[in-house]
Structure formats: C-alpha cells, structure tokens
Symmetry: C2
Subunit: 342 residues, 2 copies
C-alpha cells in the first residue's frame, strides 16, 4: 500500500505537495499537479485513514444507537440516518442497546468516544439524571425522548398531542370504550408516558372517563406483546370497541388477535397504531396510524450533530446552545378504524 512518501518520491516532489494535491489545496502549479496526479494513479494511492484521523483528531464516523434494528421503526429510521449521513460524508456505526439501561448508560459514558465524532441516540431506559451525570464530551443528539431542561440537542414529534389527536379520532367515530396498549411501568420510557398522557387528554376532551382497566401495559413493544395485551382486553367482561396502540407493532399484534378470534376490524374492534411502518400500509385491514416524518427526523438529527461537531471543533467547549426540534407528523386514517369506505 503506497504512502504519501512513495508518491512524493515517484513524482519527484515533497510530501507536502502531494498532500496538497490529495486534499484539493488550490495553490499548486498545474504542471506539478499533473505529475503528482499521475504518480497517485500509478501507485493507486489511498490515504491511510487511521493516520489522517490521528492527525486531524476526528474519525469520519458517527454512531447511531437504537434499541433494536429489527423493529421496523428503527430500521426505517436507520436507513434514513445512514443516507443523510452519507450525504455529508459520514459513515455510520450502529449500536444496539436492546433497551437495557446499563448498555444505554455505557454509551452516555463514552464507550464510543474514541471511535466516533458524534452520537445519535434513541434511548428508552435512561432518565434525566443519567443524562445529567454524563461524563463523555462527544457531541450527542437525542431522538424521540423529550428530556426537559436536558443539556442536549434533541428531535422528536410531539408525542402527546399526536396521541391526543388519535384518541380524538377514535372518539369522533362514536367509540366510548377506547382502550390503550403499551403503557409502561418502568422508569425512563418517556415516550410511553407522553402517549399515555395524550390518550388521557383525548378521552377527557371527548368527555369520556379514564378507565384503568382498559389500559394494558406491555413488557416491550413487539407484535407478540400487542397480541397478548389484546387477548387480555378482549377477555374483559366489557371489552373495548377501539384500541389505541402505542406503536404499530403492538397494533399489528393486536390486529392478529382480534381477527383470529373471529372478530372483524374495524366493525367489532377498531385498531390504531403509531409510527407508520410499512407493514401497516399492507396489512389487512390497513392500519390507521400516526406518521412521524422519519426522513425529516433523520436529516435533522444529522444536521444537528454536524453543527455541534463543528461547534466543538471551533469553540473550545460547550459553545452552541442546545436545540429542541419538533418534527412534523400526520394522522393517517386507514381501514383499521373506518373500514373500506374511508
């Protein structure tokens, strides 16, 4: 593998000149440039990134940390993040936390500090205090969880208002017994808390009582959890006629339970989700859901990180103010709440 020195020797110039050409420095005599470019090509020169990184103090890599890549929401998000990062010349390293608090904490404490220039992180198990106790100085952008007063950039949809709107949609269809699937008892999980709060607001706005019996907590957010929770709700003496699931996977699991019991959706039970994953656009019936603008979230996250990395490089430290950005969302009404007609 040819080094700068080899190329310099071959072209009969100094290392610096080769470096200048490689890095597109403007003031190089065109004759010299040609010579160098020839040598570069002949030797098939490729810069040693470890050396460059060592010298420049950067890595060209950002990390994306999510609970699990095989949850469609995160897969879709990761796709967009990788794309947005590539457009800015970054490579993306993926970390999976499995929603385990210890692993999430490790990230905050800098396991990746030496390997990446920045971190985009979608936490589920940690809280505000963990964030405050952070020692690592790597630029960080949080996704999805609104950590108030947090000293951190973050971007998310307004979970609470989206949940409220969805509940209002169900109430608007005439439903009076509206269940919820996906409440979480464990700490952290701000998202679940916000969606639950929105659900309660939506009920209140429609003049409906909040009935704890209709709220099914789940251990996680996978299809199996939704299926199981729905079984519990259907076993009630007076089951709900509509359910708002806190994500689409739960909703798809719930859907499966309802249908496999010989009931119809939405005629017997209406089902709504959250995330707008592609599955829900092809399920039968198609799934009513909240659609966050994932491309926007991803793009903004990368931009925020870019800005912050730049700031860190420029100023000494802690310069740029933290930005909290709200991503847009839409309510997508599909068959699972209004049937074929709608």
């Amino acid at each position: 593998m040819a080094s700068l020195k080899d190329v310099a020797q071959r072209a009969g110039v100094s290392v610096k000149t080769v470096s200048n050409v490689v890095n597109g420095y403007a003031y190089v005599a065109s004759g010299t440039r040609e010579k160098v470019e020839l040598a570069l090509a002949e030797l098939d020169y490729r810069p040693n990134l470890s050396a460059r990184n060592l010298r420049r103090g950067r890595t060209g890599v950002i990390a994306l940390a999510v609970p699990e890549l095989d949850a469609p929401y995160f897969a879709e998000l990761a796709r967009s993040v990788i794309k947005a990062a590539a457009e800015r010349g970054w490579m993306v390293l993926i970390d999976q936390t499995d929603g385990v608090a210890a692993r999430e904490r490790e990230l905050l404490q800098g396991v990746r500090e030496q390997s990446v220039d920045g971190l985009i992180f979608s936490p589920v198990a940690i809280g505000r205090d963990d964030l405050a106790a952070r020692t690592d100085a790597t630029p960080l952008v949080l996704l999805g969880e609104r950590v108030l007063d947090g000293p951190t950039d973050h971007i998310a949809v307004d979970n609470q208002s989206a949940a409220r709107e969805m509940t209002a949609h169900l109430a608007g269809l005439g439903h009076t017994r509206i269940g919820a699937i996906g409440a979480q008892h464990r700490p952290g999980m701000g998202t679940a808390r916000l969606r639950l709060a929105g659900y309660r607001e939506g009920l209140a706005a429609a003049g409906l009582p909040y009935d704890e019996e209709l709220v099914a907590p789940t251990p996680a957010y996978r299809r199996a959890d939704g299926a199981e929770a729905m079984r519990r709700l259907l076993a009630l003496p007076e089951p709900p006629r509509a359910v708002f699931c806190f994500n689409d996977l739960l909703a798809l699991g719930a859907l499966r339970t309802v249908l496999s019991q010989g009931l119809r959706v939405p005629e017997d039970v209406a089902v709504a989700g959250f995330d707008d994953i592609e599955d829900g656009r092809y399920s039968t019936p198609t799934l009513t859901t909240v659609s966050p603008d994932k491309d926007r979230v991803a793009k903004t996250a990368v931009e925020l990180l870019d800005t912050r990395i730049d700031a860190g490089r420029r100023a000494g430290r802690g310069a740029a103010a933290c930005r909290e950005i709200e991503a847009p969302y839409r309510l997508l009404v599909r068959e699972s709440t209004v049937g074929r007609a709608g």
Copy 2:
C-alpha cells in the same frame, strides 16, 4: 484527554510500562502495576483508538453492506450480525447499496478498505466477473449469493432446493396452477435465478408444466412489487390458485391484493414466501415460508471473517482456502397455504 505520556509522568514510570499495563502484559512488578493503575484511574485514561489503529494497522470495525436496511430480512440479519460481531469485540459499520451496481462495485474496489478490517456483503447487482476484477484486499465474506468458483468465502442457504421444496409443498396440496412472483431479468440477482430454478424443478417433479404466463417478474422485492405482480396474475384468464413469492415482502404484498379483491387465502389463492420475517408470523393469514437460520448465517459470517482477518495478519497473503458454507433452513407451513386447520 489524558495520553499515555501523561499517565507515565503521573505514575513516575515510562510510557512503555504504562502501555504494558494497559495491554495486560504479564511481566510487570506488582508495585509498579498498582502505581500505574492508580494514575490510569485518576486521569480517566482511555486509549486513543486512532493512534492505536495506526500503529497496529487495524480498526476494530467491520462493515456490513446490504441493499437496504428497512427490508425486514436485512434488518433482522443486521441485528444478528451486530450482535455476533459485538461478542468478538467488533463494531459494525453499515453500508446501504440500494442494490445499485455501481455502489456495490465501489465496495468491492475498496471504498471502505481503510476504514474497516473486513466486509460482510450481501450483493444483488454484481456478478462473478465483478468479483474476479476485485482489487481490494480487505477480507470479504459474501452472503446469500452463490458465486461459483469465486475466490471468496461465502455463506447461504440452498436457495434452489428450498424453492423446490416450497413448490412441492404447494403441488402436494393439489394445486396445478402454481404461479411465481419475483423473477428478475437483470443480471446478477443470483438468488432470484436460483429460486426460479428451484420452482421449475418443483413443478417438474410434480409433473406440472412450466407456464411462463404464471411467472411474474418484479422490479424489486418490496411489498408494492408483490401487490402489483399479484394484480397482473389475477387478471389472467385463468389465474393461478397458488403463488410462490421469492420473498416474504412480495408475499405480503400479494396477500394484500388477493384479500382486497374479496378473495380468500388460502381457499381461493394460496400464498407462500421466503425469508421468514416477523411480519409473516403475525399477518392474517399467517404466512407459509422458507425460514433460513439467520442467526446462524450471521454468526458464521462473522466467524469466517474473523478467521480470514487472522489469516491475513498471520500469513503474508492469500493463505486460507475459501470456504463455502450452507446454512440450514426449514419449511414453515402456516395459514396462507393450508388455512386455520393446519
């Protein structure tokens, strides 16, 4: 950020000694070791990975290149690969090719050479010649595509025999008009070719004629493509009563089309897929499919890469023989071909 030198100064020893301690070198006097460990802790020392990488000539990172991360099969695979890699102390960088030949070729030509120690690659658009023309020496493991005589490690299920078995399953149910969705005209895509070959073998074994009319090519392998292809098949004068889709996403799309035309699955049309993605376990009806052992594929891929990287480090070059490994698969018969009873 503290460097080895800082730690050495503080502990009153040489840089070498600190390095010895950090790297777990055995012959260090216990008193010295304690002093050093104290200094290490006090300064919160963390090795600079760029420097270490430069010196050691490795990065601790492997790349996983897939067409798109939001296709559930690849998301599930990526999850397993990242997990297996983490167990061996590797970080994983993800590249998305979108199935674009130029991007796939770039990878083969070493865009990531300087950034990773090895590459696990699931190609769709390139062929044997591209592989042969490879200049980059980075250890490589191919996934899913059987490139005969290729000078490359690879791991895959036996696509052809799996496809044959699935077709036999459909024929065994008494179907005589069995369609196929997902044939590909473009070069590369060995997987599609193999599955198509298996389908033909399955028909032949059942004494059924091969009818080109029943084979629907698709531009890609997403739900929308399956839905569209199914519409074409259903529009035939004599539509198939069973279809084998070359992956689960196509099958889910096809399912949607069939159901939305008021037909029943499997009574009117039986539908089978390939990949065993989680969606198919919760769709209504649940999806009959070929289930490759993805964990096994991922784990083996990482092992193969590990071995090859080691070999490259040890021997000068081209030492270890190439290994072609066949991953196990199972036929999962579910509702979409045999109904509730099965």
